[in-house]
Symmetry: C2
Subunit: 118 residues, 2 copies
């Protein structure tokens, strides 16, 4: 394999986007920040638009990039917990900022449709 990402990163910004880009990674990191520790099934419920395949895939890549930690408990029934690593936690302020920015834009959009009026 040797190529996890489509292309080599052009710069550090590119590098960062390759790691936290994708459809679900931002939200996964965010919820792990909010709840601190989450089990596989909990993540699946929270991100209720995700398939098991995509969830596993996203989690594996985040783990490989050292952004999250995976703790397996050898029990019956099995139990697996995910949490942010130190490196992953360093991204929290930025996710927060980005989230606030997004919320602000959404609020603005909601006020716009008034454009078409007499």
């Amino acid at each position: 394999m040797a190529r996890k990402y489509g292309t080599d990163p052009i710069c550090s910004l590119d590098y960062a986007f390759q790691r936290i880009g994708g459809k679900y990674k931002g939200r996964i990191l965010w919820h792990l920040h909010i709840r601190d520790v989450l089990r596989y099934g909990e993540l699946r419920k929270i991100l209720d638009d995700i398939t098991p395949k995509m969830l596993t895939q996203s989690l594996r890549e985040l783990e490989e990039d050292m952004l999250i930690h995976r703790e397996v408990y050898l029990e019956v029934p099995p139990k697996v917990e995910y949490s942010l690593t130190k490196v992953g936690k360093e991204l929290v302020p930025f996710l927060h900022h980005l989230k606030d920015w997004g919320a602000k834009q959404i609020r603005k959009e909601k006020l716009k449709p008034m454009k078409v009026q007499s």
Copy 2:
């Protein structure tokens, strides 16, 4: 059309990622921050791995989302300048920190290949 993005955003974080995600948008915003104003041809040179199609497409979407401003000068030869809007500038701290984070990870990776040694 009516659907510029594949899916409706699930939350504000999702919303934000839909706007600045994609392969080039982050870098475009970043360079507009650094250089303040850039012409089409200048952007094309700086992002030297981009095709005119992708550059135009990215710029149009960023403009539609009010993150950048497009100023056309009716001259011969034609001249078009791009710059960040107020809303776009609000993303700069985020991009800055994300870039620093990326740079830090890259530095770490460079020290790792020592793993395979006697």
